[in-house]
């Protein structure tokens, strides 16, 4: 026992860690099962009660690939040729004819870089690139490197545009990744409405500058909404003064509500508190889900905050006919693109009331750049407009000093800076970002309105949910059958040794799934096949060892000595054999895509786990049993 104490501890630790990582998957499965048994009203309540638990389990579980879950996978590629066309100024017939040549060349050559072809064609005709791009003093090489930058930036821009729209669309667990220099992979589980998604992914982004509605007016409107919802008559004393005092009252009440809500979520809820909470909800049905979070003694900033899942409800309320009547005709609403903060484990989004008609659209922006303010060492974004835009911008900013202008892309607000002074000349600076990433995002957004990011779908796969379910059932069923047969055979053929091997086999599967969960890996159909193969590899390692032990004991060694020799002699074979298999896994992961990578990943994890479980785990179990005087046989 002493000899193996360290190893035993290590094995137990591995098991515990695997179980720890797998627990969310189990919980998610259990929640899913309970939810399916409940009717819609009860399930809403259930979600309310277990909100953060549910979310937690969901994010930490082993994810199912699109082939198992159903959904869409779309690969977008930035169309560099189109980008070059869009970027060019003063396009004339010459330009168009060169572009047609480039297009023809691309079809013929296939893989060649578009910008290279463009440069060649321009050189062939002895036309300088500066005729259409950059400024007159730029050399061709300068322009080529600028164009290259543009094409890389276009991917980031397209990715941000897509992410924004997907977020708006409300897909759970979308995955949006850049692949290589020009591609974006979008995975949308559980989505099968292709046309909607396609519209979502393509098309130019719409960037708008909209004035925020005055906070005081907005608050008055919100209060009347709240009252109507509560069934109270609209107070006729809607004068500025009284409403202001009302506002502060109601909003302090609100902060209390939020606090007590947090308390109740945390632990034992005393009856009083629940009652107070219920009462507050009844009194202020609107503010209960769209909280102004006003601080005492400070002017209200003008936005309401709602938890992620309440957003749709808030919008529904604001769209009700009886509520709509209360809203000024030029008032519209837009949510913040990113959550503003997290409370009670839920992300909260800001709701801005803005003027319906934009003051400006993004077409006037010439350039935007995220940088660091040298004076205060804080991240800022510089924005430059063309002459026409600058003229309007001066008028707009001049008329709205100390008011806020929302920067909105595809109906999501990315920033709502306060106008400090009249900005003439078209150069503005936006500050107040929390970090550089935020500034970078704003830069991308500002550019998205002006600069094109033409993408096309080059690959799309949609798996209907029923096919996914069918696959998962068949996959799991056959895996179980294969596993069961293997387990029975091992016991039948190697007796108690086989039993140890089986235990090691189960631990092996546990480890693989545990690692998969820890790395937030995705289980695909080929992944299940990889898991089955892992079982085969683990069995092979044990077979190698046990056959060796049998051989050694034939030569007259004692059982203990035979086991010792068996394990050590079999090791080189196991090592070499598994390393070669591991090489395949690495190569497969390198060259494969999507589901095949899933297979390669499970295979690699499986190889490591199976060598560990066969060489270490089964040995420790066998030796421990022998030390305790139990009989071990290898058939």
């Amino acid at each position: 026992m002493k000899k193996n104490r360290g190893k035993s501890v290590f094995i137990v630790a591995c098991v515990l860690i695997s179980l720890y990582f797998l627990y969310p998957t189990y919980k998610d499965y259990k929640f899913g099962k309970e939810l399916r048994n409940l009717n819609s009203a009860d399930s809403l309540k259930f979600v309310d009660e277990h909100g953060s638990d549910l979310r937690d389990a969901r994010t930490k579980r082993i994810k199912l690939g699109l082939d198992l879950q159903g959904g869409m996978r779309v690969v977008l590629e930035v169309n560099t040729l189109k980008l070059l066309e869009d970027l060019a100024k003063n396009k004339d017939d010459l330009f168009n004819s060169i572009m047609n040549e480039v297009r023809a060349e691309m079809k013929a050559a296939g893989d060649q870089d578009v910008i290279d072809i463009l440069q060649q064609k321009f050189q062939a005709r002895q036309v300088r690139l500066s005729r259409y791009y950059g400024s007159i003093r730029d050399s061709d090489n300068d322009i080529v490197s600028k164009l290259r930058d543009e094409s890389t930036n276009a991917v980031d821009r397209a990715k941000e545009i897509v992410r924004n729209r997907v977020d708006q669309y409300g897909v759970s667990e979308p995955s949006i990744q850049k692949q290589g220099a020009r591609r974006i992979i979008v995975e949308l589980p559980g989505v099968s409405k292709e046309e909607e998604v396609r519209k979502l992914l393509q098309g130019t982004a719409l960037l708008e500058f909209k004035l925020l509605i005055d906070p005081e007016i907005a608050l008055k409107v919100y209060e009347s909404v709240d009252k109507v919802l509560a069934g109270k008559p609209l107070a006729d004393s809607l004068t500025a003064d009284s409403s202001k005092s009302l506002a502060s009252k109601s909003s302090t009440a609100k902060t209390d509500t939020a606090k007590s809500a947090a308390d109740s979520a945390l632990a034992n809820i005393s009856d009083d508190k629940t009652k107070a909470l219920e009462q507050a909800k009844k009194d202020h049905p609107f503010f209960a889900i769209a909280n102004p979070f006003q601080q005492e003694g400070q002017a209200w900033s003008g936005q309401l905050y709602s938890a992620e899942e309440d957003r749709a409800r808030v919008m529904r309320i604001l769209d009700q006919p009886d509520i709509k009547r209360l809203l000024p005709s030029d008032m519209s609403f837009t949510w913040s693109a990113k959550s503003s903060f997290t409370a009670e484990g839920k992300p909260f989004f800001a709701l801005y009331a803005v003027k319906k008609n934009p003051e400006l659209t993004g077409g006037v922006i010439v350039n935007a750049r995220a940088t660091i303010d040298p004076q205060f060492n804080t991240p800022i974004v510089e924005m430059e407009m063309n002459g026409e835009g600058a003229h309007d911008w001066a008028r707009i900013t001049g008329a709205n000093i100390k008011k806020r202008i929302a920067i909105i892309m595809d109906n999501a607000c990315f920033s709502a800076p306060v106008v400090q002074n009249k900005i003439t000349g078209g150069r503005s600076q936006i500050s107040g970002m929390d970090n550089v990433e935020e500034a970078k995002l704003l830069e991308i957004v500002l550019k998205a309105g002006a600069l094109p990011a033409p993408v096309e779908i080059i690959q799309q796969a949609t798996v209907g949910p029923s096919l996914g379910e069918d696959s998962i059932n068949k996959g799991i069923w056959s895996a179980t059958l294969a596993l069961a047969l293997t387990v029975v055979f091992m016991i039948f053929y190697y007796r108690s040794g086989g039993m140890m091997a089986d235990i090691a086999l189960f631990l092996n599967i546990l480890f693989v799934l545990g690692v998969l969960a820890a790395f937030q890996g995705t289980l695909t159909l080929p992944g299940i096949a990889g898991l089955i193969l892992t079982v085969a590899i683990a069995v092979d390692a044990n077979v190698l060892i046990f056959e060796r032990i049998r051989e050694e004991s034939v030569t007259g060694k004692s059982l203990m000595a035979a086991i010792d020799a068996g394990y050590s002699r079999a090791f080189t074979a196991i090592f070499d054999a598994n390393l070669t298999a591991f090489i395949t896994g690495v190569i497969l992961y390198q060259f494969g895509s999507g589901p095949v990578q899933g297979f390669a990943l499970t295979l690699m994890i499986g190889i490591v786990a199976s060598v560990f479980s066969a060489v270490v785990v089964s040995r420790v179990i066998i030796e421990t049993m022998l030390e305790r005087g139990k009989h071990v046989s290898f058939g």
């Binding site: 799309q460 696959s471 053929y493 590899i537 069995v539 092979d540 054999a577 999507g594």
Partner: protein
């Protein structure tokens, strides 16, 4: 219990017969590949593919005429899994996903009473298809080379060569069989797609695994029985590892067979390739990889100038030669 007591099969003695059989199978396979070829999956050729489920058994002829009418004359239409489900595929390319949309619109129009349900849709652009094809080839070739190099490094150069030939043999036999059986029965509709490439790489991995175990034993025995002839030594090693070979390969065979029979349509091609691959992989470790090591070593021994004793020629005979 055990299936094999001590065996002493003369594996290497009959290697020429097995060479002949292997070459015949591969030649037949190549013939099938040349005449019949195989189907590339949608991910390698590019185009649009759709799996559609109807409420009633589907009318392939009607779908075909519908596709012809829609402007996709060379579309491929075949049953998928059961009688109600059909796979429709066309290599036509158009911007975005317009091909798929058009097919769906036509389906809804032609089979309006049946409300066809699209279970799966896939669109692969022409460039992507070419790229995936290149990647797949690269993956297979580089894994063949990487593993052979590893074996050549861990053992001796010729062992690497033997392993490489054996792996190549397995890939060719499996590919030939896939080509031959494709479409012969309702259960054997195969396609070379990305999953199939994964299967091939797995076959390569498993076959290599088997080969390495045998080579390992040969290496070990060479240290113990220094004076033993190589043929005898290889035979001894093969017999010693036979039990393990059969047990492991048998287990994997059963596992992949289960996957083939019950794993569903999606996994079928994959599992079939594995079932064939595990069989030929086991065989090739013995009759190709080990046999090549033996033959090469024998030939090298034969070429070595060995001292010979002959009767000293007399002076006259030498003179006569002049």
């Amino acid at each position: 219990m055990r299936f094999f007591r001590k065996t002493s099969i003369d594996f290497m003695g009959k290697r020429n017969m097995w060479y002949t059989i292997s070459i015949t199978v591969i030649v037949l396979g190549i013939a099938s590949l040349a005449i019949k070829g195989f189907h590339f999956g949608i991910d390698f050729i590019g185009g649009t593919e759709m799996i559609v489920e109807f409420k009633q058994p589907s009318d392939v002829g009607k779908i075909r005429s519908m596709m012809d009418g829609a402007g996709f004359p060379r579309a491929e239409i075949k049953a998928y899994g059961n009688a109600n489900t059909v796979l429709i595929r066309t290599e036509s390319q158009a911007e975005g996903t317009t091909v798929g949309d058009k097919i769906k619109a036509e389906l809804n129009k032609t089979f309006s009473g049946d409300s066809p349900k699209v279970l799966q849709e896939q669109k692969i652009g022409p460039k992507v298809g070419a790229e995936l094809r290149r990647n797949a080839l690269l993956a297979v070739v580089s894994s063949l080379i990487a593993m052979s190099l590893y074996v050549a490094f861990r053992f001796k150069f010729i062992y690497g060569v033997g392993a490489l030939v054996a792996l190549f043999h397995d890939v060719m036999v499996t590919l030939g069989l896939i080509s031959f059986l494709d479409g012969l029965t309702p259960w054997t509709n195969f396609e070379i797609d990305q999953n199939m490439i994964a299967a091939f790489l797995t076959i390569i991995g498993l076959s290599m695994n088997d080969t390495v175990v045998i080579f390992d034993r040969i290496r070990e025995n060479q240290k113990i029985y220094r004076s033993m002839g190589l043929m005898e030594l290889i035979n001894k090693s093969l017999n010693e590892t036979l039990s393990r070979t059969i047990i492991t390969s048998g287990t994997v065979f059963v596992i992949t067979l289960i996957l083939f029979l019950f794993g569903g349509e999606v996994n079928r091609g994959f599992a079939f390739a594995l079932t064939i691959g595990i069989t030929t992989g086991t065989y090739s470790s013995i009759y190709i990889a080990s046999a090549i090591v033996l033959d090469y070593t024998n030939r090298k021994l034969g070429k070595v100038k060995q001292p010979v004793v002959t009767g000293k020629p007399s002076y006259e005979t030498l003179n006569q030669g002049r």
